[in-house]
Symmetry: D2
Subunit: 185 residues, 4 copies
């Protein structure tokens, strides 16, 4: 079961933000869902990105893939809070993510059920995701659905081998993130 | 009737993206809605912003206010398409809006039913809005619900008089937009 | 004696990057100088800016003013290195500045000897300055030429009282920085 | 003779901003030079980048290369003015470049005489360049030193063939520009 299903379904439907399976279907079929994507990175003392963290988990398309931290913004939740919540959920409680002071994402990722629409794919719904680069300073231990977290240098992260382990456009998202921080090889 | 009601309600509910009043209530009560805000500007030949365009219309809170172009992103719609659609709807068919090549908004505006949550207020729902500065080169004529469109210099746009005509945080949005283009007085 | 004079003059002229008074005059009269400006901030655990740090020191125009960290990029020096060097010089060795991963400044400040040219003023030269918001996590103690460092909330930092203590456009730079992080009151 | 030599040398040395060969050497050996880089693009009606324009000319390293519009910011000149001046000089008088309203570059390119320092190389000096994506709407005809201007799709622009025709890191600059506009293949 992937993150979004978990968020949508395994909670009581009486709390705002949590939906019954029927209501979930209704929402997904009618409006774009607000998401956040976080690309975890290690930085040196000057702020240079030295490594990118990729989770190994069941992706939205059902494959086991390398991917970034991703998840829904709940009703009533600030974007920063969602970003922090998903980072803590996927990276563990002592990862110490440094959510940027600037609320502007480095790019806006539009996931569609049609893989051709934007190159970013999600079979479940149309999601508009605000994507951030998030330096993490503490120890990361993948939690919940993630099977593993591996750190890659920028060169490794864009290598054909690692790219072949990513689906749904996440390999392109990594390149956009590395370009944003000036480290695209 | 304001824009969002129009978009949600006055269309057939059978098309994807259009919702019955009941379904609309369900969505609004449970998930944040994806929005775009566009701040129309006039620029000189060097790209300097010389004027900001403000619509006069019925705002989400029911007041007649000066405000920017704003509206929902529909299911299946690209953010750029929504931006262009709302600009054409509010500014008329020959406004010639120049949607920026960069998909990153200059800020992310979080509208909440609770006015204290972020300072940006919408009594109807929680909306996450991607905000863009959009140079327009053609003639603008307000259409549909807008009563008027007036151009202000940056100094005028942040004056107490004009600010007092804006609600829901739109005066702050104008200042953020002017700061983004380096023209905050 | 202000920072730039110090940097230019009080070192040996034989090292690259350090100039004799005559050569300094020649450079200043003929090319724009590359600068960095750093706005030190305190952030909460979610990355929200809660305070802005302002130095009290002799400004370029000779007045004692509140201002941000500012200084020249030396020949052969990376922009990040200059940013870190000036932060450490002005904020002390244990300030722990977090230079952003993204090399893009939040704005480009153009200082001219003519106060009317851009609103940013430096009587000594034309400088093109890359401006960054830099979260600091450690203890700051003003060093060298700075007389004091005071932390202000965003509301205080844009108040008429504090603004009246800034010259050369630094009050406007603070507003641009706060807008960039979504905290302009 | 490349652009920078032209700008520095072939004018009278009595005007501010123009330097004698000796003074030029002094400046180049002691301070970083302020530059602008402009990546000319074609956009569709929604602002999507469809093509990238590359000049064929003698690069700083003496090779005949594909490259972007590039040049110095003069003493007393605004960054926007320099950007427009270089676009007009390289693309011709009816290119109709649309310099962005936002003064923030999409990246800062640091050119060093040492090719290893940043990956961006200029044997003549250390330059700090503000890089912009500039949509052009009119007809382009390469002027002055440029031998040719060719438009490439994003896919072509990052192909091994075109990349092999670029030196000094300009191929990487193109990828950073395409990432910024969300069009990196």
């Amino acid at each position: 079961m992937t993150d979004i299903d978990d968020v949508f379904n395994t909670q009581t439907e009486h709390e705002p933000g949590w939906l019954s399976p029927e209501d979930l279907e209704l929402v997904r079929a009618n409006v774009p869902i607000v998401y956040v994507d976080a690309v975890p990175v290690r930085v040196d003392s000057l702020g240079n990105v030295t490594q990118v963290g990729l989770l190994l988990r069941v992706a939205a398309d059902g494959t086991i893939s390398r991917m970034v931290v991703t998840g829904r913004v709940l009703f009533g939740e600030r974007v920063r809070e969602a970003l922090m919540r998903h980072c803590e959920k996927d990276l563990g409680p002592i990862a110490m993510p440094r959510v940027p002071a600037n609320p502007t994402p480095f790019t806006v990722v539009e996931y569609f059920p049609d893989p051709q629409r934007s190159g970013f794919y999600d079979p479940r719904h149309h999601a508009v995701s605000l994507a951030y680069v998030v330096p993490v300073e503490g120890d990361c231990e993948p939690t919940q659905e993630a099977l593993d977290l591996t750190w890659f240098t920028p060169e490794e992260a864009v290598s054909p081998d690692v790219r072949s382990q990513m689906t749904s456009g996440h390999d392109r998202l990594i390149r956009l993130a590395l370009a944003h921080v000036g480290k695209l090889p």
